[in-house]
C-alpha cells in the first residue's frame, strides 16, 4: 500500500545536469605557489622534452618539466591526459610526491596527478595503480598548505570515481587526516576543497561507504553545515543527501546528528545549489521510518514545503512533490499534518498546472494519501478538488500513472459506497468527464489497466443506478452478496 519508491538504476534519459560534479580539473591559471616564492619562468616544453626533463636526476630540471607538464594538463581545451598516461609518467609523478625536500615539486606533481585523475575511469585507475593514494595522504600532513590542498583535491578526484576507488581511499585511512585539516583559520578555498572531497567520500552506493567512515565524517559535516559559504553548504548538503539515500539505518545515522532543523532552514535558501541538495536530503529522510519522518516534520519540513511546491523551477517542484508523496505514505497522523499545513491546495495546483513529471509525483502523493487516510481525511481530499485535475490525467501517455489513478478512484468509490456517498461521487466523476475516460480505458492494451477500468465501470457505473430508489432488496441479498 505504501509506495516508497526505489529508483530504477537504469536511465534512458540524459544524465542530470544540475547534480554535483564527480571530478574536477584544476585549470586555474594564476596558480597559488608554495609559500616561499620561487620564480616560475615561462617555460613551455614539448611532451618529449617534458618526459626527458622529468626523468632527469636534477631536481630543478624535474621541477621545470613537471611544472610544464602541469601547465599542459591545465590548459582549457584538450589537455593531453592520455599522452601522459601512455608515456608512463604517472609513476614518476607519484615518486615526486614523496620528495619532501622539494615542496614545489610535490605541489606540481600533485596538481598534475589531480588533473589526470579528473579524466576517464581508466585514467583515474592509472593514477591509483601507480600507488598515488598513500603519498597523497602523507601530503595531507605537509607543512605547506598549498601542497596539502592539492593533495586533498587529487584524493577527491580519486574518490569521486566510484565506490571501489572511494573505498581504497577510505581504507588507506585518509579520513582522519582530512578531518584534522578542517579549522576556522584555513582559507575558504581550501575549506571548499576539503568539503567537496568529503562529499565524494560519502558518495555512491553499491556498496555504500562503511558505517565507521560515515561515523567519523558526520560531526565535521554537521559543523560545516553551519558555515555561511554557499559552496561549502552545497557540498555538505550533497554529502548528507548521499548518506541518506539508503536504508533506514543509514538515514538514522544522519538524523541522529541533529542536522534536520538546519537542513530545513537551508531549504529556504535563495541559492539553488543549496536548496537542491538540502531538499533532496530531507526527501530522502522521509523515505525512512515513521519515526524518522516524524522528526523531519518536527524539524519544520511542512512549513517550508508549500513554497517549494510553487517554486519556479520544475525540478524543485518535482523533488518537493516527491517528498510530499512519501510523507503521505505514512500513518494517518502524518496525513493529518499535511492537511493542517495546508498542503492540499498547492498539490491540486500541481496536478492541474504542473509539468508532467511533477504531475506524476503529485499523483503518487494522492494515491498514498488516499490509501492511508482515515475516512474523514479522504473526505477532505475529495473536497479539496483533487478529482478535477486527476481525471484528465487518465488520458496521460504513462501507463503507471493511469493505473495508479484507477486504483485511487476505485478505492475512493469503495469507501464512498460504505458511507452511502457513492451516488454523489459517481455524479461528480461523471461531471468531470471521468466516465468517458474510464470507459475508453476498457480498451487499453495494457491488461491491468483495461481490467481495472472494467471493474470500476461494472461495479460503480452500472446501468441500474436510477432504479435504486424503488428497489426493495430481498431477504438476504443485501448482506450476503456484498
Amino acid at each position: 500500500r505504501r509506495q516508497q519508491r526505489m529508483t530504477i538504476s537504469l536511465e534512458l534519459r540524459k544524465a542530470k545536469k544540475d547534480e554535483q560534479v564527480l571530478k574536477r580539473r584544476n585549470i586555474n591559471d594564476v596558480s597559488p605557489e608554495p609559500a616561499s616564492e620561487k620564480p616560475t619562468k615561462g617555460v613551455s616544453l614539448s611532451l618529449d622534452e617534458i618526459i626527458k626533463g622529468m626523468n632527469s636526476s636534477d631536481p630543478v630540471v624535474c621541477f621545470q618539466a613537471t611544472q610544464a607538464a602541469r601547465k599542459m594538463l591545465s590548459r582549457e581545451r584538450n589537455p593531453p591526459l592520455n599522452s601522459f598516461v601512455e608515456a608512463g609518467l604517472i609513476p614518476r609523478l607519484v615518486e615526486f610526491l614523496k620528495s619532501s625536500l622539494h615542496p614545489y615539486l610535490q605541489f606540481e606533481a600533485a596538481w598534475a596527478l589531480t588533473n589526470i585523475a579528473s579524466g576517464t575511469p581508466e585514467q583515474t585507475q592509472a593514477v591509483v595503480e601507480a600507488g598515488a593514494i598513500l603519498p597523497l595522504i602523507d601530503l595531507l600532513s605537509s607543512p605547506h598548505m598549498t601542497v596539502c590542498e592539492q593533495a586533498v583535491w587529487a584524493l577527491g578526484n580519486i574518490a569521486g570515481d566510484g565506490p571501489k576507488l572511494r573505498d581504497i581511499v577510505i581504507s588507506s585511512n585518509a579520513i582522519p587526516h582530512l578531518l584534522t585539516l578542517v579549522s576556522s583559520t584555513i582559507p575558504i578555498t581550501f575549506l571548499r576543497n576539503i568539503t567537496w572531497t568529503l562529499s565524494n567520500l560519502c558518495r555512491n552506493k553499491n556498496p555504500y561507504p562503511c558505517k565507521e567512515a560515515v561515523r567519523q565524517m558526520l560531526p565535521v559535516l554537521s559543523y560545516l553545515l553551519r558555515h555561511h559559504d554557499s559552496e561549502i553548504l552545497s557540498d555538505t548538503c550533497w554529502a548528507l543527501s548521499y548518506l541518506t539515500d539508503g536504508c533506514n539505518e543509514r538515514i538514522g545515522q544522519v538524523v541522529n546528528t541533529g542536522v534536520l532543523p538546519r537542513l530545513v532552514d537551508l531549504m529556504t535558501s535563495s541559492e539553488l545549489n543549496v536548496l537542491t541538495p538540502s531538499l533532496r536530503t530531507m526527501g530522502n529522510v522521509v523515505t525512512g521510518t515513521d519515526y524518522q519522518t516524524q522528526l523531519a516534520i518536527s524539524a519544520g519540513l511542512l512549513s517550508v514545503l508549500p513554497q517549494l511546491l510553487k517554486h519556479p523551477k520544475t525540478s524543485i517542484q518535482k523533488e518537493a512533490a516527491w517528498t510530499l508523496s512519501n510523507i503521505a505514505a505514512g500513518p494517518h497522523q502524518h496525513i493529518q499534518q499535511l492537511i493542517a499545513f495546508n498542503m492540499l491546495p498547492p498539490l491540486v495546483d500541481l496536478l492541474k498546472n504542473g509539468e508532467f513529471k511533477v504531475q506524476k509525483e503529485a499523483v503518487w502523493t494522492v494515491a498514498n494519501f488516499a490509501t492511508g487516510a482515515t475516512v474523514d481525511q479522504l473526505f477532505v481530499l475529495v473536497h479539496s478538488g483533487v478529482l478535477g485535475p486527476l481525471l484528465p490525467l487518465l488520458s496521460a501517455p504513462d501507463v503507471r500513472t493511469v493505473l495508479i489513478i484507477l486504483d485511487v478512484l476505485s478505492y475512493i468509490l469503495q469507501t464512498a459506497e460504505k458511507l452511502g456517498e457513492k451516488e454523489s461521487l459517481c455524479l461528480l466523476i461523471e461531471e468531470l468527464g471521468g466516465i468517458d475516460r474510464i470507459e475508453a480505458l476498457q480498451l487499453h492494451e495494457n491488461r491491468q489497466i483495461s481490467q481495472a477500468a472494467l471493474n470500476i465501470i461494472e461495479k460503480h457505473f452500472g446501468e441500474v443506478s436510477d432504479f435504486q430508489e424503488e428497489r426493495c432488496p430481498s431477504l438476504l441479498v443485501a448482506c450476503l452478496c456484498s
Binding site: 530504477i8 538504476s9 537504469l10 536511465e11 534512458l12 534519459r13 540524459k14 520544475t314 498546472n353 509539468e355 508532467f356 513529471k357 496521460a396 501517455p397 504513462d398 501507463v399 503507471r400 493505473l403 460504505k418 455524479l427 461523471e430 461531471e431 468531470l432 468527464g433 468517458d436 475508453a440 487499453h444 492494451e445 495494457n446 491491468q448 489497466i449 441500474v464 443506478s465 436510477d466 432504479f467 430508489e469 424503488e470 428497489r471 426493495c472 432488496p473 430481498s474 431477504l475 438476504l476 443485501a478 448482506c479 450476503l480 452478496c481 456484498s482
Partner: protein, 971 residues
Amino acid sequence: MELSDANLQTLTEYLKKTLDPDPAIRRPAEKFLESVEGNQNYPLLLLTLLEKSQDNVIKVCASVTFKNYIKRNWRIVEDEPNKICEADRVAIKANIVHLMLSSPEQIQKQLSDAISIIGREDFPQKWPDLLTEMVNRFQSGDFHVINGVLRTAHSLFKRYRHEFKSNELWTEIKLVLDAFALPLTNLFKATIELCSTHANDASALRVLFSSLILISKLFYSLNFQDLPEFFEDNMETWMNHFHTLLTLDNKLLQTDDEEEAGLLELLKSQICDNAALYAQKYDEEFQRYLPRFVTAIWNLLVTTGQEVKYDLLVSNAIQFLASVCERPHYKNLFEDQNTLTSICEKVIVPNMEFRAADEEAFEDNSEEYIRRDLEGSDIDTRRRAACDLVRGLCKFFEGPVTGIFSGYVNSMLQEYAKNPSVNWKHKDAAIYLVTSLASKAQTQKHGITQANELVNLTEFFVNHILPDLKSANVNEFPVLKADGIKYIMIFRNQVPKEHLLVSVPLLINHLQAESIVVHTYAAHALERLFTMRGPNNATLFTAAEIAPFVEILLTNLFKALTLPGSSENEYIMKAIMRSFSLLQEAIIPYIPTLITQLTQKLLAVSKNPSKPHFNHYMFEAICLSIRITCKANPAAVVNFEEALFLVFTEILQNDVQEFIPYVFQVMSLLLETHKNDIPSSYMALFPHLLQPVLWERTGNIPALVRLLQAFLERGSSTIASAAADRIPGLLGVFQKLIASKANDHQGFYLLNSIIEHMPPESVDQYRKQIFLLLFQRLQNSKTTKFIKSFLVFINLYCIKYGALALQEIFDGIQPKMFGMVLEKIIIPEIQKVSGNVEKKICAVGITKLLTECPPMMDTEYTKLWTPLLQSLIGLFELPEDDTIPDEEHFIDIEDTPGYQTAFSQLAFAGKKEHDPVGQLVNNPKIHLAQSLHKLSTACPGRVPSMVSTSLNAEALQYLQGYLQAASVTLL
C-alpha cells in the same frame, strides 16, 4: 521427419486438404497436421514450402499454418515440455527475417506476425542478432525490404507504449536505442530526401510515405517510456522534419476516396500524436518547438476539408490544440483576440457543421447516430474535438470566446431566418455551438450540471427552441426537431420547471414523428423529465401535473412502437416504464389495453429476443402494471395471470433462455400477491421447477430461488400435504447450490425458507443430512460469504426449533461438536454478519442459546457462555467486520457468471424485505435483557456472577444499559 522431397510432397497434399470445403476431408487433414507438428523439422518443411512451392495457394497456406504453429508452440511454459526442438528454433530464427523480406506481401505479413511472436519471447536475449540483421537492411535501398523491416520493428516495439516500466523492459529499450536509433534517424533523413527527389513519381512516393508513417510510429514507441538521450540530442532533426512534413502537400498523394484516410493524412495524424506526446511528457525540452507546431497544426486545420477521410487527422489535431491551450504557460499563444477569433471561426465553427455524412447517418443509420450523439460514444468525432477545444479555451478566455461565438450564433440564426428550408443547417450549428459553449459539466442522470453563466439558456429556449417544437408539422426539419428535443434533455436542470411543463405535450406530440431520431429523442426526453427529482426527493413532476396528458401519452408511446424501425426501441419502452412509474393509479383505467399490448409485444419479441434493454424495460413495465393494479385491487391478479400465463407457457416450452429468468420473477410477484392459499395452477408447475436442467444455467438461479421461496411462503402446507415426494428434490437443489462458492448464498435463501415455512415434521427426516452437507462444505472450502450465511441459518434454526434442538443436532453428528461450532465459528465470526434483518436473526438466536439452552449452564459448554454473550454485545455495538482474507479476493472473478448469463434483476418485481422474527422480537437488546432476567430468576445468583467475572468492562456497561432500558435486574 526428414527434410525430404517425399515429406514435402505429403505435407503439400495435407495442406491442400485443409482448404477443402468438405469437413469430412478437411478435419482429418487438420488432425493429421496437428499430430505431426511435434516432430523435428516440421516448421522447416513449412518454411521450405512457403518459399519454394510451385503453387501459390500452398505457399500462402503454409505461411498461415506456420504462423499459427508458432503462435501455439513457441512460448516455453514452465513445467511443460518444450514443444519445438532447439535446432528448429535456431534454424527458424536464422532464416525467417530473410524469408520474410524476400516474400510477396501476403506471405510477408504472416511471417512478420510470426517474427513478432518469436520476438516477444526471445528478443533480445535469445535473439541477439535480430537488431543488427534488421538495421543492415536499411542500407539495402530497397524500400519494400525496408518497409518489411520497419513493420516488424513496429510490431516488436509497440509494446513499449503500454507496458509498465521495469528494469527488464528498460534494458531492452536501451539495447534497441543503441542499435536502432541512429540508423532510424539516418533512414528518416534519407527517406525525406528521396521524397523530394521523387516528388513527381506517385508510386515511389507511396512507398516512401509508407516508410515515413512507420518511422513516425516507431518514434512514438521509442519515445514513450521516457525521453531517450539520443532523441533529446537529435530533437532538432526530428522536429524540424516533422514540422516540414506537417506543412507538406503533394497532389500526387491526394486520394479520391472520401472515406478512407490516405497516406498523407495518416502520416500527419501520427505526427500530431508525436507532438502531443512530447508536449505533454517532455514539455521542458520541447518548449521551444511547440509554438511552431501550434501554428503548423492550426494552419493544417484551416486548410483541411470536410471529407470523412480527414476525420481522424482533424480530431487529433484539434485535441492537440485543446490540450495545449489550457496550459498556463502557453496561454500567450492564444490570447490575442485575432488568434482567438480565427480559431473560433476557422477551426471550431467549420467542424461543428452538420455534414452530409451526418445527415446520411441521421436518416439511414439512426441507431448509430443516436448512440454517438446521446450516449457520448463520439470520442473521435470532429464535433466532440471541437467541443473539447471550446472548453479548453474557456478555461482562460471564457468571456472573449463567448463574445465571439454569440456573434456567430446570431448571424447563423439570421441566415436561417432568411430562408429556413435552405439554411436549416445554420440553425443546427448555432444550437450546437450554444450547447457546447454553455455546458461545463454533464451527467446522464441530470443533464448539464454546470453551465456557462454568460449564456442565457432560458431565453434561447423560449426564442429559438420552443417555436420549432410548436410547429404543427412534426416531420418538418427533423434535424432541428432533434436538436430542440436534445436541448430540453440536456438543459433540463437549467430551464425552469414551468417551461419544461410546457414542453411535455410538445414532446408527446413528437412521439409521432416519422424520423426515428426525433421520436426516439422525444421518448428519451420524456423519460428523463419524469425521472427528475424536485425538493424532498419527490419527482419534479407530480402525477397530477401529467394527468391531463395520460391518454395521449400512453397512446403515442405505444403507437411509436409501431413506427418503422422502432418496433423494439428501448428508449420508447423505457419511457413507457417510467410513465407507469410516475403516473401510478392514473394508469389503472388503461391497464386492460396496456397489458394486451405488452403481452402482444412480449409474444412477438420472444420469437427472437435481440434487444436486451428493450426486453428488460418491457418486463419492468409488466411488473409495474401488476403492482399498481393489485395494490388497489388484489383480486385483479387473476386477470394478469389470465393474460400472461399463455405467453409464459410458450416461453417456457420453447425454452427462450433470455426470458426465463424474467418470467420467474414476474410469477414470483404474482404468486406473492395472492393472499390465500396457493392456486393449483402454480402447484402444477412446482415439479418442473426442480428439474436439474433449469438449474444448470446460472442466469436462472436467483429468479428460480426467488420463485421457490414464494412457493414455500404461500404454499408450504400444500407442498407438505400434496407434494411431499418433492421435498427431496427441493433439498437436492439446495445441495447443488451450496456446493458452489458463487451460489451458496442462494442455497441458504432456499434453506431458510424451508426452515421458516415448512411444517417441522415434513423436514424432520432430512435435518441431520442438511447439517452434514453444510459441514462438508465448511471443510472443503470455507469462505467468508459462506460463514455469514451459515451463521444466519443456524440462528434461524435455533429460533424456529429451539436452542436445545440446535445443540442436540450438532452433538448428534459428533460429540462436543456444538462447543466447537460456538468456539470456532459463532464467537469469532459473528461480527462479520451484515444486514439489519440478518443481525437481528443472529441476536435473537444467540439470546436463545444463552438463556434457553440448559447445557450452556451446567456442562463443559458453560465456559463459553460469557464469551458468547460478549460477542453478542459486540454484534450490537461494534462496527461490522468487513475484512475479507486476501486469498478470497479472487473468488468473485473465478465464480461470477459471465456477462451473457448474468442475472437480470427486475427492479419492479422487487420483494419486500422480510423479517422472520419481526412479530417475535421488536428490540433485540431489550429482548436479551428480558431473557437474561428470566434465566436469572430460574437459577438465582449464577447469571450476575458469570457476567461480572469475565465480561469486559465496556461490554458490561452496555449490558447494564439494556437491563435499565428493559427495567429488569439480574437476580
